[in-house]
């Protein structure tokens, strides 16, 4: 798709050379052109008024290249191609993004195709950086360069074009795909008006046909594509309002499903290179992070069938063989000694002791203050009733079902890489950097992802594969064993959190003081600004953690929501209030949250009688722009708790594809339930102890609850995400339900260890 760079013209929106740098706005930035062959293309970039020169240089962009967030191609054959800059990892983003574009365009859905943008810099979604940095920040002009600079730094760090942060629909879709569709529609109408010599205002578009009702004139998109490319570009195309939506808000079937059902969809692990015989690599990295290979004895492995090469790469050992099984079997026969370090002494208890020490040192007002309202300490000192609690969560692995893998072929100063990455551009840049070649020498091919959850935004598998392929000189597919995946992850951090709450004589919550370890992302995860609490102080403190950590579905919300919503229930219990009633009280000034809470309570029949040893728990969380409340129903009659039902109500602003959004809520609930019940990565002698599904179990079909999801479209102007927000309320709803069923108050996850 590189030919785009030649045909997309800069619009008059670009400040002329020498003109003052434009203020960063969320103005869409549109370019259009004609492809050889008569196809209209319209691209949309969202960025500062001035093309980000530093960003361009970093991405090795050439003259005339612009960064395009999304685009649409309309061919003479009437086929509308939506080019989307996000990867498909089961979340359904491709279809929903195409839906948004096609609706604004009034295209015929049967003629819509989807193409995933290549990781080549043209599609860098650098607005994601801005969204993460300061989602609702309004910056005075004088500060704009600073924020823009910060955002560029962040963009550089992230290497761009990320699929994550529950961002695709609310960011790229809302600001890119819709604008591209609306602009293309306006240009098609203008072309028809010119051709027919009729006013554009009398021309309508419906399902791919441009028509003038009075004269009966009609033309398909394909007939007008070439003429449309010559029309003026609408700088601010008019977007539809919900009453005019035809495809948005409809449960359209995902376009990637058939290939996934019939097995023709290509994931990274399926890659074959036509005309080439692949060799396979298995790897083992030192069990303790940061250690090196001190000594390798491969005498037994060398003689094993199919073995081609054995590599000591310094920071890992690899076997390359004719087949994967042979490589892994030979690897298992290699004995390795590793370098020693102080990290060899670390175990889980020592890590949590370190957190406790850091929290002790921070005391009642130390650490980094994240948010402060009123004077929490002063009220707490004189509170009529005091509630305190401390919570702990373990490290978690991602456990994506498709094992980590990457195929690479390095020869003649060039490199081809095949993988499923959440960060195609990051993967490409990582390969280039690892090999010491420029990014334009790397041909990166992204595939479907068999689960991402944040794990596939890292590039360690890519770096390993290109290093192995460079050593061999022939194409190699690297596949990690499940053991390697479990033990060499970028974990959800373990964390501890302490709370102090003060109630007045009437039982009203007056003060909230929280200190917890670590703050990674998003920054608002520990905040409770939607709760009406007069005095609050929220702080974090850093504490040593030797394991690698990274984003894990919903990131810090995964632990913070459990801390917060567990403590709200403890306050309710101390005050003798119903957990729902207390939350209603606290949400009195947050009507959207209250509506979601009330709906889920109604769905679950909150307050109705349950059999003995059964209980309901409720929790609400706001993450990635969506508000989600869940009620879990638990049966404690057997030895182990059984979650029988989960009710979920979500307000994502507007669900572009309600079926897809519902599926994401269900998926977040299942993933969250797996983690809350079983997820625990433990450390002994510096190394991760768990290794496979026998000791890091997944939720089984027979344990899955009935899930009921309802959606409130609370504000179509402010979209929230779908990939992550279903997860955070699940763990607290579950542990609150266990307490309500007569079980213990769980303050240390996972749940299963309390019932062992």
């Amino acid at each position: 798709m590189n030919e785009m760079s030649e045909v997309i013209a800069e619009t008059p929106e670009t400040p002329k050379a020498g003109k003052k740098r434009g203020k960063w706005t969320r103005r869409t930035f549109i370019g259009a052109g004609l492809l050889t062959g008569g196809a209209l293309v319209v691209g949309v970039a969202i960025r500062s008024g001035k093309p980000p020169e530093r960003l361009r240089a970093m991405l090795a962009g050439g003259d005339g290249e612009i960064l395009v967030n999304s685009f649409v191609k309309i061919g003479k054959d009437n086929i509308v191609t939506a080019v989307v800059p996000h990867v498909e990892m089961g979340q359904g983003a491709h279809t929903a993004l195409a839906q948004m574009l096609a609706d604004e365009l009034d295209a015929d859905w049967n003629n819509v195709r989807i193409l995933e943008a290549p990781g080549d810099g043209h599609f860098a979604s650098h607005n994601i950086a801005r969204e993460f940095l300061a989602p609702e920040l309004k910056v005075p002009s004088v500060l704009e360069p600073t924020v823009d600079g910060g955002f560029l730094t962040l963009a550089k760090m992230m290497a761009l074009q990320i699929t994550g942060g529950s961002f695709s629909i609310r960011g790229t879709g809302q600001r890119g795909m819709r604008a591209a569709g609306a602009a293309a529609r306006a240009m098609l109408v203008a072309a028809a008006a010119e051709k027919w010599q009729l006013p554009a205002s009398e021309i309508s578009v419906d399902r791919g046909i441009v028509a003038h009702a009075k004269s009966g004139k009609r033309a398909a998109f394909g007939e007008l594509a070439e003429a449309a490319a010559k029309q003026a570009l609408p700088a601010q195309p008019k977007l539809k309002t919900p009453k005019d939506f035809k495809l948005m808000g409809k449960p359209i079937a995902r376009l990637d499903i058939p290939a996934k059902v019939d097995g023709t969809a290509i994931f990274g692990i399926d890659v074959q290179i036509p005309g080439q015989k692949l060799s396979y690599a298995a790897v083992k990295a030192p069990p303790v992070v940061g250690a090196k290979v001190a000594k390798m004895d491969a005498s037994a492995a060398k003689a094993m069938p199919g073995v081609l090469q054995i590599l000591n790469m310094g920071d890992f050992v690899a076997v390359v063989a004719e087949g994967y099984w042979q490589a892994q079997q030979a690897l298992n026969q290699i004995t390795v000694e590793y370098s020693k370090s102080d990290a060899d002494k670390i175990d889980t208890a020592a890590i949590f002791a370190g957190y406790g020490k850091a929290l002790d040192e921070a005391g009642a007002d130390g650490g980094d203050t994240l948010a402060e309202t009123g004077d929490a300490a002063a009220f707490f000192a004189k509170a009529a009733k005091k509630v305190t609690a401390q919570y702990h969560v373990p490290f978690l692995a991602h456990a994506a079902m498709e094992p980590m893998n990457c195929t690479a072929w390095v020869r003649g100063g060039l490199c081809d890489v095949w993988a499923g990455s959440q960060s195609p551009l990051g993967a490409r840049n990582a390969a280039a950097k690892t090999l010491g070649i420029s990014a334009d020498k790397v041909n990166y091919h992204n595939t479907y992802l068999g689960g991402g959850f944040g794990r596939r935004s890292e590039t360690d598998n890519i770096e390993m594969a290109v290093r192995i392929a460079k050593a061999t000189g022939y194409p190699v597919k690297l596949i990690w064993s499940r053991e390697e995946d479990t033990q060499q992850d970028w974990y959800r951090p373990s964390a501890s959190s302490r709370f102090e709450a003060g109630l007045d004589a009437s039982g009203k919550l007056m003060s909230w003081n929280n200190i917890h370890t670590h703050l990674f992302d998003p920054q608002e995860a520990p905040l409770v600004s939607y709760y009406n609490i007069p005095n609050s102080l929220i702080r974090k403190v850093d504490a040593p953690m030797h394991l690698r950590f990274g984003p894990w579905r919903s990131v810090d919300h995964s632990q913070q929501s459990w801390f917060i919503e567990s403590f709200v229930d403890e306050i309710a219990e101390a005050a003798g209030k119903d957990p729902l009633a207390l939350r209603r009280e606290l949400l009195a000034k947050s009507p959207r949250h209250l509506a979601v809470l009330n709906r889920v309570a109604k769905m679950a029949g909150w307050g109705s009688a349950l059999p003995a040893k059964h209980g309901r728990g409720i929790a609400i969380a706001q993450s990635f722009g969506s508000i989600v409340a869940e009620v879990a129903e638990v049966d404690l009659t057997a030895k182990k708790p059984r979650v029988t039902k989960v009710y979920c109500c979500a307000d994502p602003g507007f669900a572009m594809n309600p079926d897809g959004y519902t599926a994401q809520m269900e998926s977040g609930i299942i993933y969250g339930l797996t983690a809350a019940l079983y997820g625990e990565i433990m450390v002994k002698n510096g190394a991760v102890q768990q290794s496979n599904f026998h000791d890091y179990p997944m939720l089984r079909m027979n344990e899955a609850p009935d899930i009921f999801v309802e959606i409130i479209n609370g504000d179509a102007q402010r979209l929230g995400g779908g990939g992550e927000p279903g997860l955070p309320p699940l763990a607290p709803a579950l542990t609150n339900a266990i307490r309500a069923a007569g079980g213990m108050r769980i303050r240390h996850l996972p749940v299963a260890k309390h019932f062992a």
Binding site: P274, Q276, L308, T373, D416, S423, R548, F549
Partner: protein, 153 residues
């Protein structure tokens, strides 16, 4: 919603950044065999590379040679000379007037890129002048690519 003082807006997502590890060469490299050399139990049932390339040469003669020359230095015909195409950038031959689509594609000719092109040239490069030469059989494409790989060595 009460007034909350946000005191900290940091640069986040630090762990999302992909810090490339230095390109360390292997400390030890034990070469036991070359791919395909051993009689491994699961070795590919596909024909050996030489056989595949000769099959590809025959297909090339019938389907491609009318437009494309392959000898080094030979003049281009209706299509560009293909000597050394594997690993080369699209639009590299001096004596051939490429379509805009091809010239600006930025594609590096890997086997997979060639496979995509041969499967449907017009779909891969809307606007390409390559009107003929579509090979619908994947095995034929594999053979032709093996041949092109051979002549690119």
């Amino acid at each position: 919603m009460q007034q909350t003082k946000i005191l900290f807006i940091g640069l986040i997502l630090a762990a999302l950044s992909a810090c490339g590890s230095p390109a360390e060469e292997p400390a030890e490299q034990l070469i036991v065999a070359k791919p395909g050399a051993g009689a491994a139990p699961d070795s590919s049932p596909a024909p050996a590379a030489g056989d595949l390339a000769s099959k590809g040469k025959a297909i090339f003669a019938a389907a491609c040679a009318a437009c494309h020359s392959v000898e080094a230095g030979e003049a281009s015909g209706a299509g560009p000379n293909l000597h050394g195409i594997l690993g080369a950038k699209a639009g590299r031959v001096k004596d051939f007037a490429y379509s805009q689509a091809m010239k600006t594609s930025g594609v590096i000719w890997t086997p997979m890129e060639l496979d995509l092109l041969l499967a449907n040239p017009a779909a891969k490069f809307p606007g390409t002048a390559m009107a003929a030469g579509k090979l619908t059989d994947a095995a034929d494409r594999e053979a032709v690519i093996a041949y092109l790989t051979d002549i690119s060595k």
